[in-house]
Subunit: 328 residues, 4 copies
C-alpha cells in the first residue's frame, strides 16, 4: 500500500526524549499547555518538587492566597509562643485579661514584629519574650527576602506570551494541501529570530505491539526574523511528508499528535524564550483555511492585530487529485 | 525595463513576520524606536498588556509619578478604612476631633504602617483596626517587594545603548555607490561580536494591488569583533542589490523602508543585547558621506569619540556611470 | 597488539583543560559531583574564594546557620558598643541595673535596630548612642539587601536537576557491546535541546612516564530534543572506539575515567543549564543492561517515571565474538 | 624584502571596530584591564554615563563610601526640612532647646524615618512634618530597593575571574617558535567551552601616513572543553603568521599590540562570561618558556594549582634557523 510505503521510506527519529514502547506509555505525550503528560515517583516529594518553580508558576490568585495563609500561620505560631511565655512580658498589653484579649494582643504583636512595623504600643520585656521577638523579626526579614525574590522571579520570568490557534487546519496549498496552525504574541512583547519545530507522533501497531514513532514535519518557513503580526506555520503534505496519502481514519487510529516547539529571542527580557504546545487528532479540521487576523487602522497609520481571530477560518473545498482523494 | 528586471531576478524573502498584503497593513512597519507600528485588540487590555513590561519601559519621571500616586491612593484607601472603623481605636489620636484632624491622623498612621516605619505615637487598638493594620503592613511589604524587583529590573535590563545616525546616506563607494548608516554606543558600555542585519521593505503595485516585498541587504561587514568607536554599516548598491538602478522617484513611490537590527554581546550585562530601528525614504540623503567622529586626544594618549557628530556628513558629487545616471 | 594498535590509530585530544603530565596530577580528575579535583594556592584566600559563590552553593541548613550566627554576632558587637557608650542613653532601660540586665537591654535594642523593627520601648538618646543606632540601622538594611540577593540567587540559580545512574554498564548492543549510563530530571523541570558529551581519560605508561590521554566517546545520540522521561546515553564500543578490545585488566590498570557533561535548555529558567559528573573504572559493571524506569499509569492517562529505578539493571550474558572475547 | 612580502600576502581584517586611520587614534587601543582606551564626548555626561554600570563596577570600598555619603546627605537634607518646619512638631524632642540639640533630634529622627526603624521616641505631629516624614519613608524604601538591586547586581554579575600572565613569551615551539601567554581562573569557579581569540594590531607607515592594520593570530587550540588548571594560549609563528620573520626592532617600531578575548560558559552563573586584555610590545619577553604552575598534592589525591606562578618562566636558547635568525 502506498501509505505505509511512504512512511517506511521516511526515517523516523529516535531522539525525542520519549520512548518507542507505547505499551508502557499512557495517553497523550505533551499536554496542550506544553508540559509533558507525566508523573514522577520513587523519591520523596520534597526532593521531587522544586518549591521555587511551583511558586513561580502558580496562578496569581493562588500565590497571594498562599502568602496570606503563610502570614497568618506564622503569626498564629508566634502568638502561641508569646502567650505561653507570658503576656505579662508584653508591655502595653496589661489591660488584656481574658484568653481572647491576651491572644489577640500576642497575635497582633507578632504581626507587627514579623513585618518589622513595630509600633511599640506593645513591646517585649524580659529575656524569653525578647528572644522570641528577636528571632521572629529575623524570620520576618528572611521571609520577605524570599517574597521579594519570588515576586521578582514571577514577573521577570522570560515567557513567549504566544497564543496558538486551538485547531490545526488541513488547507489547500500550492497544488496539494498543507497542515497549518497559527500563532501570535498576545502581550506588548516583540519576538525576533523565531523558530518553530513540529514533531509528529504516531502510535502504530507493529507485530501486534503498539509502538510510538516520531517524524519531524518539514516547514515552509521554519524561522522568521520577527514575529510582529501573526505567523501561520505551514507543513506542506507532499511526497516527503509522513502524512502523505494518510486517510482520516488512519489519523484517528494512530492517535496522531503534533508536538510544537517555538523558540525566539525576546528583546525586552533580552533572553531566549520558548513555548510548547501539542495537538491531538481531535483538534484537526479538514478542509479549512485561516482568515486574516489583522487589518489597517481607519487612519491608515498603523496595523491592528485582532487576537480574537486567532482561530478564524472558513471551510473550503479541498483539491482532489488522482491518488490522494478522500484522505487527510 | 532594467529596474524591474533586477528585482525580479532577486528572491524576495517571506520570513520577516510581516504579511505581503499591503492593502491591509497601515503606515510604516517599524517605528524609529524599533517597536512595530501595530496595535492589538480582541482580548481584554489586562490580558494584552504586560504590566511588568509597561512599568519597565516607562520613562523614569513617569515611573516615579506612578509610584507616588500609588502610594497616596493606598494611603487614602486605608485612611478611610481606619476612619470608618473608628479613630478611637487609634491610641495617640485622641486629641483629633474634627473630621480633618481625624482623617489626617488616619492617613499618616496608614503611611507609617505601609512603609513599616511604625513610630507608635499613633498605634492600633482592638480587633478590627489591628486586623486592617496587619493586612496593610503585609501589603506594604509585598508592594515594596514589587518595587524592589521593578527598580532592579529597570536598571539591570540589558540594553545596547546604541545611537543611530538620523539619516541614511547614499555615498560614493568603490566605483559605484553605497547606502550607509552609522551607529555608536553612547554609554560607558562596550559591545563585542556585533552583528547588523538590514532588510529592505518595498510597497509595490502588482496587478493593481499593493504588495509589500522584503529583501535582505548584503553588508560589506555584517559582523565586527568589537564596537569601541563608531561603526558605519555599508550596503554596496551593486548589481546584486535590490536598489540597483532604482531612481529617487521609485524610492518614494514604493515607500522604501530600511529595517535595521543590531545584535551584540555586552560584557557588563554578560548578555546578548539587541536594538532595532527603521528608516523611511524621507530620511535618505543622496550624495553625502559621513565625516569622522573621533579624534586623537591632545596628549596623544587616548582617542575621543564625539557623539554629537553621529550624523556629521558632507555633500559629495556622486559618480556618474553609463546606465545608472540620476538614480538613487 | 590489536589493542594498542587501535588506540594509536585514534587521535587523542589535547583541549580538555587538563595537562598530559600525569606525574604531576593527583587522583581522579573530576569528582562525581562534577567539580574538578583540584585546590588552588599562591594568592590569599579572600582573593581566591568568591564569597558569593560559596554562600550560593552552601547546603541550606549551613546557610541558615550562617545567617543566625552572623545575626547574633552583629547584635553582640553592637550590644557592647551601646553598653560602653552608656546604657543611660537608652530611654526605657532605666530599670536595668546589673550588667546582665543592661547588656540584655542593649542586645535586644540592637536586634530591634538591626531588623528596623524599632518598637521604641527602648530608644536612643544623645549624640553617640544615636549615631551608633543610625549606623546600625543602615548596616541592617544593607545586610538584608545582601540576604535578599543571596536567597534570590540561591533559589533562582539555573540548575539541570539531573540524576545520573551511579553505575556505568557494559551492555550487549547491536552485534557488539556498548557503554551505557542513564540520566533523568528529578524535579518538575523540563529540559529541551539536551546534549551529552563523554570524554575518556586514560592514564598510560609511555617510555616509563605516566601520561594522561583523552579521547572523545562517540554517542549513538549526542542530542535529544526533549528530556521528558529518562535518557540512556550509549557509546557503541566498535572499531572506532578507544575502548575496543580493551580488557578489564587494562581498564583498571589505566585508571579509566569517563567525564560526562550534559548541557540543555531549561524553559522555566529560560536559560542554558549544565551538569557534569565523572565515573571511575570502579563504577563500571560488565554484562548488565538497564531496566525500563517508566510505566503507564493504571488509568492509562499519563506515564509514571520511577526515579528510584535510575540504576535498575539486570545481569545479562555478553555476546562472544571472535577477536574480542573476555574483554571489557 | 621577505618581511613585508609575508604581511602583504596575508589579509588584514577590517572588522575589529577600530578604524585604520592611526593618525587620529591616540595611544594603545585596549587597556590591560580590557576596556577600550577611549573617551566619549559631545553629549551631556548624564546621558553618556550609565549610573548603574558605574556603581556596579566601582571598587567595593568606594561603593560603601558612596552609600555612607548618600545616607548622610539625605539625612542632612531632611533634618533641615524638619528643623525649618518646626521642631515643636516632633513629639519627644521638647527638651531640645539650642540649635545643635534641635538639629540633632531632627537629624536622628530623619535617619530613623529613612531606615523605617521608627522608634517613636521622637514622632511627627501636624500636617507638614507628617507629610515630610511620609515622603521620606517612601524615599527610604525606594532607595533601599535600589541598594538591594545594586548589591545583588554587584555580586551576581557574571565574571570570568581570569588572571593573565603579565608577559607574553616568545618560546621555542616545534621546530620554530611561538608566542605564548597563560591564563587561569583564580576563584573557585569552573569554566567550560573556553574560547580564546587573539588579534594583532600593527601601526605601519604607508605612503608617509601611519595606518593601523589588524591580523587574527591563529592558535594551536582556540577552544578547550574545560579550564580546570591553567591554559597556555599558543600562536605558532610560522609562515602563515603575520609575525613571521619580524625583527625585534620592527615589533617596537610598529608598536605591536596583542588584543586577547576569552569567552567561556560559567556553570555557577549559568551564563557566558568574557574577559579581555591587551599586551603591548613592552610586555613581550624573547626566548623564555613557562614553567608548570600545578603539582600533585603530597597525598596524591588531588592537584594543586599555584596561582602565584602564573608568570613563572625560565630563559631558554631560541633555535636558530637559516632565514630567520635574530628576529622576534
Amino acid at each position: 500500500m502506498a501509505v505505509s510505503h511512504n512512511r517506511q521510506r521516511l526515517k523516523d527519529i529516535d531522539n525525542t526524549g520519549f520512548g518507542p514502547n507505547s505499551s508502557i506509555e499512557g495517553g497523550r505525550l505533551i499536554n496542550s499547555d506544553g508540559s509533558p503528560n507525566l508523573r514522577k515517583r520513587g523519591i520523596p516529594i520534597w526532593e521531587r518538587i522544586s518549591v521555587y518553580h511551583t511558586l513561580l508558576r502558580m496562578k496569581r490568585s493562588h500565590f497571594f492566597l498562599f502568602v496570606l495563609i503563610l502570614y497568618t500561620s506564622i503569626n498564629l505560631l508566634f502568638a502561641f509562643l508569646y502567650y505561653f511565655s507570658g503576656v505579662e512580658h508584653l508591655t502595653g498589653a496589661e489591660n488584656a485579661h481574658t484568653f481572647t484579649e491576651q491572644f489577640m494582643e500576642a497575635f497582633f504583636f507578632s504581626s507587627q514584629t514579623l513585618t518589622t512595623v513595630g509600633y511599640g504600643r506593645v513591646a517585649p520585656m524580659g529575656m524569653i519574650t525578647n528572644c522570641i521577638a528577636s528571632v521572629e523579626s529575623l524570620i520576618g526579614i528572611l521571609i520577605f527576602a524570599v517574597m521579594t525574590g519570588l515576586i521578582y522571579g514571577r514577573f521577570s520570568r522570560p515567557r513567549a506570551y504566544l497564543v496558538f490557534s486551538p485547531n490545526v487546519l488541513i488547507s489547500p496549498f500550492k497544488d496539494g494541501k498543507a497542515l497549518m496552525l497559527r500563532t501570535a504574541t498576545y502581550k506588548n512583547n516583540h519576538l525576533t529570530d523565531v523558530e518553530a519545530q513540529l514533531t509528529l507522533a504516531l502510535h502504530l501497531k507493529e507485530n501486534g505491539k503498539t509502538v510510538t514513532k516520531f517524524y519531524p514535519l518539514k516547514l515552509e518557513f521554519a524561522k522568521i526574523n520577527s514575529l510582529a503580526l501573526s505567523w501561520t506555520i505551514v507543513h506542506h503534505i507532499n511526497e516527503e511528508s509522513p502524512l502523505y496519502n494518510y486517510t482520516k481514519e488512519e489519523v484517528e487510529e494512530s492517535k496522531v499528535e503534533v508536538i510544537v516547539i517555538v523558540k525566539a529571542f525576546d528583546d525586552h527580557f533580552s533572553n531566549v524564550v520558548q513555548q510548547r504546545t501539542s495537538y491531538t487528532y481531535k483538534q484537526v479540521i479538514y478542509g479549512a483555511k485561516f482568515l486574516p487576523m489583522f487589518e489597517k487602522a481607519e487612519t491608515g497609520e498603523y496595523t491592528i492585530l485582532e487576537l480574537d481571530k486567532i482561530n478564524a477560518h472558513e471551510l473550503v473545498k479541498m483539491p482532489e487529485h488522482a491518488g490522494h482523494k478522500a484522505e487527510v
